[in-house]
Amino acid sequence: MHTGGRILIYAYGNPGRQDDGLGNRLIEELEKWVESNSIEGIELESNWQLNIEDSLKISDKEIVIFVDASNEDIEDIHFSPVEPSEGKSDFTTHSASPSFILALCIQLYGKHPETYLLQIRGYSWEFQEGLSEKAEKNLQKALDFLKKKVR
């Protein structure tokens, strides 16, 4: 992965729900790192959840890395390419997956970035701010991983 192009690292989650805020914390840490090392070409974004307007946001990027907390049975972190999905209409929800955003981007704007998803394993989801101890360790692994990737 190179740093000369336009890279977007985009995390989503609710920092008021413990480890669901893993991605949001990762962006805070990356902002400090980018600033102190004067790294250019990387845009950092943090939000509650992905939504349809993000198809426009990613449309002019070369590389996009979505970051999400995960309660799935994965190792501490998991990095994988994102493929566009067919994006079924849900029963009722106002959020979208990375693959849905990518598919919408392709349909609406006729172009798309290389897209990846970095999942960070979380463990606790209560009404509290701050990460669990195990999630903090995974956050550090995710940071180390991304710093190597985008350098």
């Binding site: 989503y12 729900r17 509650w48 959020s95 009404f127």
Partner: protein
């Protein structure tokens, strides 16, 4: 013994629901219930916290409508800090909050229409789910899909400049607001290049309404008969009867339009509204005390607001309101699918209000906060996108929250959603021994009209699959379908 069909959406979060349909021995629908798990732990969680934290803290409840919770909490705390009940704020504070709120309404309704409703209208509710989605809309009507994206983006950016940030906004504080707009911020939205300016949003809101009305002309029978049942309707209205989504008095009308509650100060809501607990549902059933549990339930949200208001105080939305009223012969509409029509009228009203507020000089200067003598209790109501939202707090002498009661819009719509599902099930599932895609789609479309918020507290993990289980008269599972 009858058969039982279960439709169960699955999410990773607390908010979820399922539909159970009980069939009698003849295969007819005997009883239908929508079960939604409501997370009420938040009310206990906030006890002991300083009251001034509430407008930020309550945003943890919901990643979908955090602005509504933010503002309802701030309105309740206005009362506690002695700043009055909505009319005591400085002009700048009230208008900034309104701008934030109409930005929220605009983006949330736009998202619902383009993302959830328009695929059903463009392709029909029986279309293959693989195309009946916003990506399918993009393929068939790219312009419509692009407009949906930009309208949502516009509303989100209005929220960001008024609330201060995307996540855990801090704009509204007890007694006021913590900032006004700069002239540059205002001009960006008022006079910015196309398409992200207020005039373009009004134009596109009108286009969306025309899209719906055109569809309605061609599909009137479906819209008018898909789900229709008598209901009371409840919302805030302005003192003079105008639609007001930010502040007002409580009004309720019955299915014939008779006012059964009017000019009620919402600080007294407990005198008029109670919540029933039913053994089969985690979510309570609110009702008007004077009319009892059986007859006092009501609908909230866009359809309720259009049914209760005497007029809409912006010119273009007022014209559409008159068309709506004429189509319903001046009476409240009890047609569930008219919720979409009402929602589109509110999108237009919100766009007009955003332009009006951005054009007001108070939005870029003026006092931000007022203070008064402290009270121990405060109640804040707001018309959230999905309907009336109640926040009620009591504090002790140490400024800590000792009681919190929240009635969210989806709870207020618990009974009408049950009625809608019951009506649809009766039409689609009598004498059916197999679960079909049209059955599932119809139930889904019926609930979706109410835009219930099931993913409170955090973002949903992926899709919400629907699962239907069919049981025979001995409660044996004979069919199961998932989508």
């Amino acid at each position: 013994m009858g058969r039982k069909i279960t439709i169960e959406p699955v999410t990773r979060v607390e908010g979820h629901g399922k539909v159970t349909i009980h069939l009698d021995d003849d295969g007819n629908v005997a009883q239908t219930r929508l079960h939604i798990v409501e997370f009420r732990g938040f009310e206990r969680f906030v006890q002991g916290r300083p009251y001034w934290e509430m407008p930020v803290l309550v945003q943890r409840l919901c990643g979908i409508c955090p602005v509504s919770h933010h503002l309802a909490a701030a309105k309740a705390l206005d009362v506690i800090v002695g700043a009055g009940t909505g009319d005591g704020l400085t002009p700048t504070a009230e208008k900034m909050r309104r701008l934030m709120h109409y930005g929220q309404m605009f983006q949330s309704h736009s998202l619902h229409f383009f993302h959830l409703a328009s695929p059903d209208l463009l392709f029909g509710i029986d279309a293959d789910p693989a195309i009946r989605n916003v990506i399918g809309v993009a393929l068939k009507n790219k312009e419509l899909a692009v407009q949906g994206v930009m309208m949502r983006k516009f509303g989100q950016e209005i929220i960001q400049i008024t609330a201060g940030k995307k996540i855990h906004g801090t704009g509204a504080i007890p007694g006021g607001i913590n900032k006004h707009l700069t002239v540059e911020e205002r001009d960006r939205f008022l006079k910015g290049p196309d398409p992200l300016n207020a005039d373009k949003m009004i134009e596109w809101s009108l286009s969306a309404l025309e899209f719906f009305k055109d569809y309605y002309k061609k599909n009137k029978d479906f819209i008018d008969n898909f789900s229709v049942f008598p209901s009371n309707f409840l919302s805030l209205v302005r003192k003079d009867g105008a639609m007001d989504l930010y502040h007002g008095v409580l009004r309720a009308v019955d299915p014939k339009g008779k006012k059964i509650l009017d000019d009620v100060d919402y600080q007294d809501y407990l005198k008029y509204i109670d919540e029933e607990v039913r053994s089969w549902s985690y979510m309570k059933f609110p009702y008007l005390k004077a009319y009892g549990k059986k007859d006092g339930w009501y609908t909230v949200g866009p359809l309720a607001r259009v049914n209760t208001a005497d007029f809409i105080p912006t010119p273009l939305a007022q014209k559409e309101f008159e068309i709506f009223k004429k189509a319903n012969k001046g009476k409240p509409s009890c047609i569930s699918m008219h919720m979409h029509w009402a929602r589109l009228i509110e999108i237009l009203h919100s766009a007009e209000m955003i332009k009006q507020l951005l054009s007001d000089p108070d939005i870029v200067e003026g006092e931000l906060v007022v203070k008064g003598s402290k009270h121990s209790e405060g109640i804040g109501l707001i018309e959230a996108p999905r309907g009336t939202l109640f926040h009620h707090y009591e504090i002790n002498g140490k400024d800590q929250i000792i009681m919190a009661n929240l009635i969210v819009s989806t709870t207020n719509n618990n009974q009408p959603m049950n009625e809608a599902v019951s009506y649809i099930a009766g039409n689609y599932m009598n004498k059916k021994r197999e679960i079909t895609e049209p059955m599932l789609n119809a139930v889904e479309v019926g609930i979706r009209a109410y835009d219930p918020c099931l993913s409170c507290a955090t973002h949903a993990f992926g899709q919400m699959p629907l699962e239907i289980s069919l049981y025979d008269s001995s409660d044996n599972l004979i069919d199961i379908k998932r989508k």
